[in-house]
Each structure stands twice: as structure tokens, then as C-alpha cells.
């Protein structure tokens, strides 16, 4: 038996390449305070705090949550730190939701963050360990071959990645928290931007951002007692598979397929493209939009690029993907997954402002990490499950 659980508060910082106005505690507190205000509660009302972030080597502080306990009002309370690679923001939300769904706590604050201006992600991701294969030039170098493989297998034309890059940046113009506000973005600008890791161009990759995202998760009785709109959790799922083994499909990972099936089954979703009104999907490189459309079952294998090409994934399409502007517009790495989960919740709470999808009742939040091997997803709805 699980307790019905809802997102009753969301708080985000303004994302930017350097939040030099804030220390790390200041950054996480900004998001947390906004989430508490949105949830109409105070620090004393929080039973437990769950923090997530990507590798500690980014900021050079190991287990920084110990030091953030004060800033997040966790003193005297339970506090946990989740780390599941790029999917961490999603996994953190799921661990926090689990504390409420299990009946252990009634109101939990969850926060995910990264301060890339005090970091060197490329360095941290490129450390060479003896006897281990080097990752080579950060995440872009790792994922470019997957994308080339996708293009080869699906026959997708070159402009698909460009189209995603433009679409997400246009969406970001409607999102005041987004890092990138590229007012003159168009396909030509993306096409002319430098090729970083063929076929990934500069404007087809995500920025490096500072930022934090927070949510307040509450049990049904608490959610019912507040005026703040609720995004009810209809299902949560995590799946992992090993990084490398012979025959592994890195373009269409089984863990992603299994994770989507599991969360859809919990939420009663039988036809995801029909049953879901929008999705916030972890797309750090433009080409991952069509790849994840297939992995999430929105279309058949090798057909994902046609969804993008037809405009189906645009804000006014039949399956809006990343109305907020997505990871391509804001990427505080450890928080990027939680932002997807939070923006999915904002859509069903009708709190998405200028990028609100009309009448959104049920949405998906998605995050992935590692070598496309860790997946975290949730389905949230305006109605109780």
C-alpha cells in the first residue's frame, strides 16, 4: 500500500553561466525557499531533505550535502544524498517521493543543483584512471558515436538536430528561468555554429549552467489541505544497465524501454503519445530528442526524427517535448533531471506560464545518465491516481 503523493511546490533559480551573486548554499536556498513559498509552508513543516547532484568532482567538494544541511534547514532532520550520474535529478525526486509514498514522512523537500562556474566538468569527466578507457573530451565525445549510429540506422536527414536546437531555444524564450535566451535563433545560426563532436554542433549542445531546482512533495492529506495546486504522482520508475557489453544497443537502450513500460503501467498509460499531454525529456544534445521519442514508445524505431520533422514535438504540436526549453537551454547538470520532473509537474499544475500546454492533464518527466544506462521517469497528473 502506498500513500498518494503530490508535488505541491516548485522552486527554481534563474539559470546562468555564472551565478557569481550566490554561494552554493545561497543558490540551493534560493530554489528551496521558492518551493516552500509555492507550497505555502515553512522550513519547520519539512520532515526530511533529499539532495541530488552530479559528481562531486565538479565543484571539488566531496559529499557537499553535509555542508548544505544548514542552508536547507535540515539540522535535526533526516537528510540524504542521491547520485546516479546524469539521471540524478530524476532519481532524487523519486527517492524523495518514496519517503512520502511509503508513509515514512508527510512532507519532504528535495533539491538538486550544480554550480558549473565553480566547476570544471570537462576536467572531471576526462580523468584518466589506469587500466580504464578514457571518456575522451567529456560527454559530447562519448555520445557523438551513438548519434552517428542513430543517423546511420534511421536515415534521418541532417537538419533534424538543427530543428530540435531551434525549437527548444524558441521555447526557452518563454521561460524566464532559462539560461539561454537566444532571441535571434534560427536554423541558419545553428548550421553555421562550429562543429564540436561531429555531428554535434556548438548550438546543438547544452550550455554549462549554475542553478538549483527544488520541490516540496506531500502526502494526500497535506496536499488536500493546501490551496497550492497539486501534481499527483501516478508512477515512478528507475532502471539501470551496465555501460558496456557485446551486443548492447546504446542507441535504443533496453533500460529506457523497460523504465518507460514500468512507469506507463503504473500510471495506466497505454498509448503514451495519445495519453500524455506533454513531456520534459532529458535532451543534452539535439539528436537525443528523436532517439528518446523511440525509446519512450512515442513512435516506432527509426521514426523519431519524423516526429521532430513534422513539428509534432513543438509547443503547438500533438506531443510537445520540452516546452520549458529543456536541457539544451539550461544545464545545471545535477539539477537538469529534476528540472524535467518539476516542469512536468508545472504543466499539470497549470503553472508553466507562457509555455503552458493548453489543458495539460498528464505529463512525463524523464532523465538519463551514464552511458545512456541510468533512467528515471515519473508520470504526474492533475487528477488523483
Amino acid at each position: 500500500m502506498t500513500v498518494r503523493t503530490a508535488v505541491v511546490g516548485v522552486g527554481q533559480t534563474k539559470y546562468s553561466s555564472g551565478r557569481t551573486d550566490k554561494s552554493i548554499p545561497g543558490l540551493v536556498r534560493e530554489a528551496a525557499q521558492r518551493a516552500l513559498t509555492d507550497a505555502q509552508c515553512d522550513w519547520a513543516d519539512i520532515d526530511a531533505v533529499v539532495i541530488g547532484k552530479a559528481p562531486d568532482m565538479f565543484e571539488g567538494i566531496t559529499q557537499p550535502e553535509l555542508y548544505l544541511a544548514d542552508a536547507l534547514g535540515a539540522v535535526g532532520k533526516p537528510m540524504m544524498r542521491v547520485h546516479t550520474a546524469g539521471s540524478v535529478g530524476g532519481s532524487t525526486a523519486i527517492v524523495a517521493a518514496g519517503l512520502v509514498r511509503s508513509g515514512v514522512h508527510r512532507r519532504v523537500l528535495t533539491v538538486a543543483w550544480e554550480k558549473q562556474s565553480e566547476s570544471d566538468a570537462m576536467f572531471a569527466l576526462a580523468i584518466r584512471i589506469p587500466f580504464s578507457p578514457p571518456l575522451v573530451a567529456g560527454a559530447g565525445g562519448y555520445f557523438a558515436p551513438h548519434i552517428r549510429s542513430y543517423i546511420h540506422q534511421s536515415g534521418a536527414p541532417d537538419h533534424i538536430g538543427i530543428k530540435v536546437a531551434v525549437k527548444d531555444r524558441l521555447n526557452a524564450l518563454k521561460n524566464p528561468y532559462a539560461h539561454l535566451h537566444l532571441t535571434d535563433i534560427d536554423e541558419e545560426m545553428v548550421r553555421e555554429s562550429p562543429m564540436l563532436w561531429d555531428p554535434i554542433r556548438y548550438l546543438e549542445t547544452c550550455p554549462s549552467s549554475d542553478g538549483a531546482c527544488a520541490m516540496v512533495l506531500a502526502a494526500e492529506d497535506v496536499a488536500d489541505a493546501t490551496d497550492s495546486p497539486a501534481a499527483w504522482i501516478h508512477g515512478t520508475s528507475m532502471r539501470s544497465e551496465p555501460t558496456m557489453f557485446a551486443g548492447r544497443n546504446q542507441v535504443l537502450p533496453q533500460a529506457g524501454i523497460d523504465c518507460a513500460k514500468d512507469v506507463y503501467a503504473q500510471a495506466g498509460v497505454t498509448d503514451p503519445r495519445q495519453d500524455l499531454d506533454a513531456a520534459e525529456v532529458y535532451v543534452p544534445f539535439s539528436w537525443f530528442e528523436p532517439m528518446w521519442m523511440e525509446n519512450l514508445g512515442f513512435c516506432a524505431e527509426h521514426e523519431g526524427w519524423k516526429m521532430t520533422d513534422s513539428g509534432a514535438t513543438a509547443l503547438d504540436g500533438d506531443m510537445p517535448i520540452n516546452p520549458s526549453g529543456g536541457v539544451l537551454s539550461s544545464n545545471p547538470i545535477g539539477a537538469s533531471g529534476m528540472i524535467r520532473f518539476a516542469e512536468a509537474a508545472q504543466q499539470v499544475r497549470h503553472r508553466a506560464g507562457d509555455f503552458q500546454v493548453d489543458g495539460a492533464r498528464r505529463t512525463l518527466g524523464h532523465a538519463y545518465g551514464g552511458g545512456s544506462q541510468f533512467f528515471a521517469m515519473w508520470v504526474v497528473g492533475a487528477d488523483k491516481p
Partner: protein
């Protein structure tokens, strides 16, 4: 703050396994460290990774100096077909807590928890000083031993702990560890021998400080009848809770452990007389005295029969090992009610308490 215990699902430790805790596992990487413990604990229960409902681990990238060090550990678990899995950048005791919460949902019956750490890869004191507030404290490079020495000094001057108590704790822990086949970092000694040692970090003598060790540990948790099927005498977790304190040690009363006291209450330790045995994660001898007081243990309680963290201190593993050691003694019939404790952060900043029992509620 929490729901009542009556709605809880009964969850037990049904198997524990660890590698030997050694000073330097030089020829093993972390994957090679963790694999034997994981495979052994699965073998003991007859389960494989596909029959485990949830897998969760605890580790720290900084020990190996490698981002995502837990990712390669997953290769050792055999996560194919894909598994439901998560990771905390915390001691494995908190991974076990996450698994316990996950089992409360009721849709799965088993969980695999593991932890690993190869501290010998670097200078642990320097590494852990990177855990401190980064703008004004860390640049001074205070190491855990330095901060623990300040705490011990405060305890001695405050009359909370005596030199004799510290020497007794250090001697008992090291002697217990010497008799523990799985510990390769301690020798038998008397309190007088400890008291005769030259100071390492005054007032801490070498044996007042847990020796850094490499190692891994794994536990299988199971709920209800599944636990009864997998073990003749499961170690039921009747309560488990954790709390954190301020990171600013200057604002804390270091002569007590307020968060341990809160966690012990929340975990339902209850009547101290009922606790026969305790495994406490105290990497410094004076901390065992503080923890026993905060939990309310009686003088007759058997504390750290395994030797505890003063006999071997495998970072990220020591807390999970305390739970495993206490659970084994419940399963063996040595005790009916035991406490297991884990800590993290400078000077006992964060603490977890679990109560283990031989009979389900």
C-alpha cells in the same frame, strides 16, 4: 513527523557478506573489491540479480579519484536484463535505509544493498578535508583526525570522557578486531598498552583512531514471509532513522551527539535494558562513549564485538558493516535485540540508528 510503526511492513536482514578489511587492497580496483561480497551474499540467499526487487549502493567518487565510480561497480552486479537500481553518495547504511523505504511500498519483497571503498588510493585525511565548507574552512585543510582531536579534548575537559575510558575502548575494539577473521588492520592490546603510546594528535593516541581500510560489504533485505523463507532467523529491522546536525562544528556541542539521540528515539530503541548488543560506527575511541550515552546503552551491553571502526575503518562501508555485524549476531542467536549505528561527516555530524530484533513484531 512520521507515521506510526503499526503501518510498517516487516523487513529483515537475511544475509550479510563482506570482504576482508585490509590496509591496502593494492591489486584490486573497486569493482574487484565489491564483486566477491555481492556474489557471496546472493549465493547465501540463493537469489540472483534478476530476483532482487531493488538494488542500491553507497560509495564515494573521491576515494578512487574517479567520477561515477559506482557506474563500473554496477558491471559487477550483473545488471542485465536492466534492474531497478539507485545509488547514494553516502555510507552504505544510508543505501540500506533507502532500500528499507523502498520495501515499504509493498510491490517488491527483496533488496540488495552494497557499499565499497578503496581509501588507500589517496591520502584519506586530505580527501576528507574536501568535505568541509569550501570558502573559509577547507582552505585550512583540517583533517578528520585534527577535528576529532579537538572534540576529544573538549570531552576530556568537560568531564564527559576520561583517558581511561578511551584506552579501554581502544584496547577492547582492537582486541575484538584481532579475533575477527575479516579484519586485517588490528592487533590485540591492553588499555595500559594504549595509554603508553605516544600521542598521534593529542589527546588521541594511534589506537584511538580507526585504521583506514579498503573493503566492501553487501546485505540482502527481505520483507515478511520472503524473509522467513530466506533465513531461519532473520534480523528484523524494528526501527531505523537518521538525523543530521549543523556542519559548523563551532556551533555544535561536540561533547554529545544530539542527532544520534534523535535518531535513537525515532528508531524506537526504547528500554535500554533490552539492548544486549550494539555495533557503533565510532572511528575515534571517545566517540564510542558519546554514542553509547546518546543511545542510552547500559554498561552491560556488548559494544562492537566485531571490533568496530576502531579495528578497521573502511570508509563508506563501515556503517553498513555495523548493521551486518549486528544482524549476524541476531541470526546466530547471540542476541535478541541489538542496535546498529552509522555516522558521516566531521565529528559525528550525521547519524543513523537501526534496531534489530530476533522476532518480528
Amino acid at each position: 513527523m512520521s507515521t506510526t510503526g503499526s503501518t510498517r511492513r516487516d523487513v529483515a536482514v537475511v544475509a550479510y557478506s563482506q570482504t576482508p578489511f585490509v590496509p591496502k587492497a593494492a591489486d584490486h580496483n573497486e569493482v574487484e573489491l565489491v564483486m566477491p561480497a555481492v556474489h557471496d551474499v546472493l549465493e547465501r540467499t540463493g537469489l540472483d540479480s534478476q530476483r532482487i526487487g531493488f538494488t542500491v549502493s553507497g560509495s564515494n567518487d573521491y576515494l578512487m579519484g574517479q567520477p561515477f565510480s559506482f557506474v563500473s561497480a554496477l558491471d559487477g552486479v550483473g545488471a542485465w536484463p536492466p534492474i531497478e537500481e539507485s545509488h547514494v553518495e553516502m555510507d552504505g547504511a544510508w543505501a540500506l535505509y533507502e532500500a528499507w523505504v523502498r520495501l515499504q511500498h509493498g510491490d517488491i519483497d527483496t533488496a540488495l544493498v552494497y557499499a565499497f571503498g578503496k581509501s588507500s588510493s589517496g591520502d584519506l585525511g586530505r580527501v576528507l578535508s574536501l568535505q568541509l565548507e569550501p570558502y573559509t574552512t577547507q582552505p585550512l585543510w583540517p583533517e578528520p583526525d585534527h577535528l576529532a582531536a579537538i572534540q576529544a579534548r573538549l570531552c576530556l575537559e568537560g568531564g564527559v570522557v576520561t583517558h581511561e575510558q578511551m584506552a579501554e575502548v581502544a584496547a577492547r575494539s582492537n582486541t575484538n578486531g584481532f579475533h575477527n577473521d575479516a579484519v586485517a588492520t588490528s592487533t590485540a592490546m591492553t588499555a595500559a598498552e594504549v595509554a603508553g603510546q605516544a600521542m598521534a594528535f593529542d589527546p588521541l593516541r594511534p589506537s584511538d583512531i580507526g585504521p583506514v581500510a579498503d573493503g566492501a560489504a553487501a546485505i540482502v533485505l527481505a520483507a515478511g514471509d520472503t524473509a522467513r523463507d530466506l533465513s531461519d532467523r532473520p534480523a528484523w529491522i524494528s526501527g531505523i532513522a537518521h538525523r543530521i546536525e549543523s556542519h559548523a562544528i563551532g556551533t555544535r556541542d561536540l561533547t554529545t551527539s544530539a542527532s544520534t539521540r534523535l535518531a535513537a528515539q525515532a528508531a524506537g530503541v526504547g528500554d535500554p535494558a533490552s539492548i544486549e548488543l550494539a555495533e557503533l560506527y565510532a572511528p575515534y575511541s571517545h566517540q564510542e562513549v558519546l554514542l553509547a550515552e546518546a543511545i542510552g546503552l547500559r554498561a552491560s551491553a556488548d559494544i562492537n564485538p566485531s571490533g568496530g571502526a576502531l579495528a578497521a575503518h573502511p570508509l563508506m562501508v563501515a556503517g553498513l558493516a555495523r548493521i551486518g555485524e549486528a544482524a549476524e549476531r541476531i541470526t546466530n542467536g547471540d542476541a535478541d535485540r541489538a542496535v546498529a549505528h552509522a555516522t558521516a561527516g566531521p565529528c559525528l555530524q550525521q547519524n543513523l540508528v537501526a534496531v534489530l530484533e530476533g522476532t518480528a513484531r
